[in-house]
């Protein structure tokens, strides 16, 4: 099957460095999510793999073949675009059959392949529909089928479900995962939604300004974010700037013991790992508000200088606004100059 190798790929648009010396190896059958904020170069990278942009530098190989300068029509890649990009003058069947017809396959084989792939995406019997008669979710399914029917070595998806509502997005995401595992197709999935990446990926590549910030398994990226940027981008995270002196991190009354050299640092604590206890007297902080979500509650906390933190608690009733509390982070990390300088041992909160 197929392995994708990207080595030192760079793309410069006049003045913008969209992708900057990016390297990544995707194993056969692996599903990698490219995750990052808008403008971080995800689409540009994907389009270079698909052949729609030519890299300014670097090398892209698929199964060892250099495809860096091969046009899209001769690459073994299949792309699913953000807006489905179906051909509205053709019905569903012809949209799917177009690539097969270009390959001069016999009619019977085309019919059989199209029907099989329609079945795969759950649209059996939709062949004669006009693409404009389909719902948004069905259109994206057809777009996915159009790529899959050609059995590409690498499947590329660029925020394919971004325009769909939350509910549908979650369902299609699961379907993509199922199909991907059934076909064992090497896949790159671009998204700016961290929940999508966490739910789908074998590996997440967090991108920022055209380079990799962290590339690892979803649970590692979530539990051990490599930088404050990743920490803030994945899941919800409290980030507090302060100073470390004598192995104690301090931010106006909020103190946490740790082991690190003296100096400036950023403390990162997930809400579910920020333990709070009622304080006798003033305490480290005050509760601003308690929001009950049924299964859990979120407590908004104000530090004396107004910095706002969030803590997750089991019972909303135990807490009231205005209450003085102390903060006991159970799992946390400290960063300096964009690298982790300390991680607490119990980081499974």
């Amino acid at each position: 099957m197929a392995m994708l190798d990207i080595q030192g790929v760079t793309k410069k648009f006049s003045t913008t460095m969209a992708v900057d010396d990016f390297s990544l190896t995707v194993a056969d059958g692996e599903l990698v999510c490219l995750l990052g904020p808008s403008g971080s170069g995800k689409s540009t990278l994907l389009r270079m793999i698909g052949g729609f942009e030519t890299p300014s530098g670097g090398l892209i190989t698929i199964d060892g073949d250099d495809v860096t300068r091969v046009p899209p029509e001769r690459r073994p890649t299949g792309m699913v675009f953000q807006s489905h990009a179906l051909w509205t003058h053709m019905n569903v069947f012809n949209n799917l059959a177009f690539g097969l017809k270009l390959r001069h396959l016999p009619k019977a084989e085309i019919r059989q392949k199209v029907e099989a792939v329609l079945e795969l995406v759950g649209l059996s019997g939709y062949g004669s529909r006009a693409t404009t008669q389909l719902s948004g979710g069905q259109q994206q399914r057809v777009a996915l089928a159009r790529s899959l029917v050609l059995e590409p070595k690498i499947l590329l998806l660029d925020e394919p479900f971004a325009s769909l509502d939350q509910h549908l997005r979650e369902r299609l995401r699961e379907e993509v995962r199922d199909i991907q595992q059934r076909l064992k197709i090497t896949t790159l999935f671009v998204t700016h939604g961290q929940d999508e990446a966490l739910a789908l990926a074998d590996r997440i590549v967090v991108m920022r300004d055209g380079h990799t910030e962290q590339a690892d398994r979803p649970d590692v990226v979530y539990r051990e974010p490599a930088s404050p940027f990743v920490a803030g981008f994945i899941g919800s995270m409290n980030l507090v700037d302060g100073t470390i002196a004598n192995n104690v991190f301090t931010h106006t009354g909020f103190t946490v013991p740790l082991t690190a050299a003296d100096g400036q640092a950023t403390l990162a604590v997930r809400p579910e790992a920020l333990h709070i206890v009622p304080a006798s007297g003033v305490g480290m902080a005050k509760i601003h508000r308690v929001t009950d979500y049924g299964t859990h509650a979120i407590v908004d906390i104000d530090l004396p200088d107004g910095v706002r933190l969030k803590a997750m608690v089991g019972e909303a009733r135990a807490w009231t606004a205005g209450q003085a509390i102390n903060l006991k982070p159970r799992a946390f990390a400290a960063y300096r100059d964009n690298v982790a300088i300390f991680r607490s041992l119990d980081n499974h909160g």
């Binding site: 729609f52 899209p72 690539g99």
Partner: protein, 291 residues
């Protein structure tokens, strides 16, 4: 009690309707007065002829004359030939220009667009004389060829190719603009998707782009045909004396031969050809509007 709200609704409806009708009425009346009525009256005048005794009766003899007169038929044929050749050449020239303008990303495209639209600002009469000075006998091209001891060109001036060249030049801007607006509806992603499944340039053009702009092509051809049938200046100045195109032919029949009935007959026949393309145009616009 229940009648009251119903009345109310009817009341608002009837009070709104006259405004709408009035708004539509103005253009409809204008069209009737300036277009429909002249057509009807022209047709009546050509089939309701006075006989030797001066009494009017129904007769198709002006049409019979037109279609039995070799000279008239030649004129009609040269008009149809010019139309077909001009439309074909226009598409061959304008489609690549429009495709280039649609897909080029560099700065030269802006200048090319300016150049392509430029003929719109040049009056036909100036164009005609420029044409004669360049391609006519002893024109610039001839002089240049002479200077290097090459034989004279066979000038298209005063041959059927003269009007063709002029009309092509004259119609480039409109055709390019129409095609360009059609190409605006073809999304980049739908083209990239086609390339992704293996379509080369020709396949993309043939299977994705052309089907999507077929309406624009139809509109462009309709406009060209309508324009050419009513063209006067270019065929008059650049074309041969015989056969001549319908525009100059009508004018000469009307003014020089002082035969209005025959001229009107020619006009009705030209109109008959144009209406076919007019209907094509209306049809394609209506088809586009349909949901």
């Amino acid at each position: 009690m229940t009648a009251l709200p119903a009345n109310d609704i009817v009341g608002t409806k009837s009070s709104r309707r006259p405004t709408g009708l009035l708004l539509v009425a103005a253009p409809v009346l204008l069209v009737c007065w300036l277009i429909i009525w002249p057509i009807i009256s022209a047709i009546i005048r050509t089939v309701w002829l006075p006989d030797t005794a001066g009494e009017r009766r129904f007769s198709l003899e002006t049409y019979q004359f037109f279609f039995s007169d070799q000279y008239s038929i030649n004129n009609l044929m040269v008009t149809l030939w010019t139309t077909a050749v001009t439309a074909l050449i226009l598409l061959l020239i304008c489609l690549p220009i429009a495709l280039y303008l649609r897909f080029a990303t560099n700065r030269i495209a802006a200048y090319v667009q300016g150049l392509a639209i430029f003929p719109m600002f040049v009056p036909s009469i100036i164009l005609s004389y420029a044409f004669i000075r360049v391609l006519g006998p002893n024109g610039t091209v001839d002089l240049l060829l002479n200077a290097v001891h090459l034989p004279h060109i066979r000038s298209p001036y005063l041959t059927p190719w003269g009007p063709v060249l002029g009309l092509v030049w004259d119609n480039i801007p409109l055709t390019v603009l129409i095609l360009l607006s059609g190409l605006g509806n073809v999304s980049n992603q739908s083209i990239e998707a086609a390339r992704d499944v293996g379509a080369g340039r020709i396949a993309v053009l043939w299977h994705i782009i052309l089907p999507r702009i077929s309406n624009s092509l139809l509109v462009a051809v309709s406009f060209t045909v309508l324009g050419i049938f009513s063209a006067f200046t270019l065929p008059y100045v650049l074309g041969p004396a015989a056969p001549e195109m319908m525009g100059p032919f009508m004018q000469r029949t009307f003014r020089d031969l002082n035969d209005p009935t025959t001229a009107i007959t020619q006009a009705v026949i030209a109109f008959g050809f144009c209406i076919v393309f007019g209907l094509f145009y209306v049809y394609s616009v209506a088809k586009n509007r349909a949901p």
